[in-house]
Subunit: 237 residues, 2 copies
DNA sequence: AGCCAACTGTGTCCTATAGATACTGTTTCC
DNA sequence: GGAAACAGTATCTATAGGACACAGTTGGCT
């Protein structure tokens, strides 16, 4: 298992994109990549990513650990398969509501949010250099199609798409951001104790309203897209 | 080691905030939390997070693995100490350039970016529910102080601060975002092969200019802050 | 029809990891 | 000056991913 950033092997690509040529002879495979990945996703959804071990996945399928290695070269590949399975089918752009880019990309963000919120472990596993699978690429394609209308440059559009994906990630229900939503009980107590060092935070803590239930997803989305609109307006004038 | 989100123990708080009461009797401690954390940070900076094991950290200090457990209850605490050490001293708000919130928060983002870019492993380790140490809290305090001027509500200000931190994280030089900056060689080849399924991406790939060297950090920063300005303008009118 | 090569799934072994526990020796307070 | 409290060590355990050799199964070729 690679915890660090690492260039994925070619094998992973073949796996994700169905380029592995199936064998002709030999016993019929009883397992399948799909079943394995699904079992792993189920475990991760229910008990967290840490519960996903080769042993555990195999046990849930009533097979031995080593049998999984016939379908997957290692845990990294399993995780890659999990990711694309969890990402799910991307939305069809033509079916998105609205006729301009803004409502459509808003819908895209909300759908992506729903998909990701169902798999709180995704952020932990979608970091670093990776190769996207078909589903993930489909999501990217959808966003790119929507944003083509903005007239932004290609790098700008991709930066924006990445940004929106990152925003979804940072506003997941299971807080994945570095800081809390926005302070835990413990953190609050700690701030009170050091009120002299952090006067602004303590004041905010005392008279601030509670957090929005969406972790600021809609708020941040609005900020970004307002910024995009302003940029477009500046350029067209 | 906890790979999953987990509420940190009280002990970690005491460690980070210097609340651990030092012993009076017994031999003088030769090691120190600072030395241990620094050694771990050095390893992570040089060889990546995966190279940081108790064994390795201890070896670099010429001690046995188990001696570290006198200063740290486990690897989680070590990582927590690494984070606050790597975050470094927050900037002094009064010394930031500019007289309004915008140039100041821009400077804050750039400084945070520099601090984080020096420690590419930080994103991997600053996910999930955590308790912030003094340094990290100091960075948050600084951003909160700067954004107080905006007139946004408390949750809005904190959401914005979190967002900016997340933006820095998502635009680190070592790509930490889910998607590449924006496509790797391999991914590009794959797209070409499936040009029918991803027409928009393939077109962008063909006639797009190269990516900006900053991964779109400045671009995204501008979008967000433009959005903030528009929000403020709407409310004051 | 039969045989061999290719394959699936299993059992065993190896390495690295975090950590528990019992120890040896040192320091300081009573 | 003695005993409690501590620092660092040595040894052991559990769990992880994964290598490797094997037994049984299947299809293609002669």
């Amino acid at each position: 298992m690679v915890t660090d950033s690492e260039v994925p092997a070619d094998g992973t690509i073949q796996l994700l994109w169905g380029l592995r040529d199936g064998p002709t002879r030999g016993p019929k495979p009883v397992l399948s990549l799909e079943r394995i990945a699904q079992a792993a996703v189920d475990i991760a959804d229910a008990e967290g990513l840490a519960a996903v071990s080769m042993q555990r996945v195999a046990a849930d399928l009533d097979f031995t650990k080593m049998s999984l290695y016939r379908y997957v070269t290692g845990k990294d590949e399993l995780v890659a398969a999990m990711i694309d399975l969890a990402a799910g089918d991307p939305p069809v752009v033509a079916e998105l509501p609205g006729r301009t880019w803004r409502p459509r990309i808003e819908a895209w963000v909300r759908l992506l949010g729903e998909a990701w919120d169902a798999h709180p472990w995704l952020p932990w596993v979608t970091m670093g250099d990776r190769v996207m699978g078909p589903n993930e690429t489909g999501w990217t394609e959808a966003s790119a199609a929507i944003l083509a209308e903005t007239g932004l440059s290609v790098p700008e559009r991709m930066a924006l798409a990445r940004m929106l994906g990152g925003h979804v990630r940072a506003t997941m229900s299971v807080s994945t951001a570095g800081t809390q939503p926005w302070v835990s009980r413990r953190q609050a107590a700690l701030l009170e104790e050091h009120a002299d060092r952090f006067p602004v935070l303590v004041t905010m803590l005392r008279d601030g309203e509670p957090d929005p239930p969406d972790n600021g997803r809609e708020f941040g989305l609005r900020l970004i897209l307002d910024g995009v609109e302003r940029l477009i307006a500046e350029r067209t004038s």
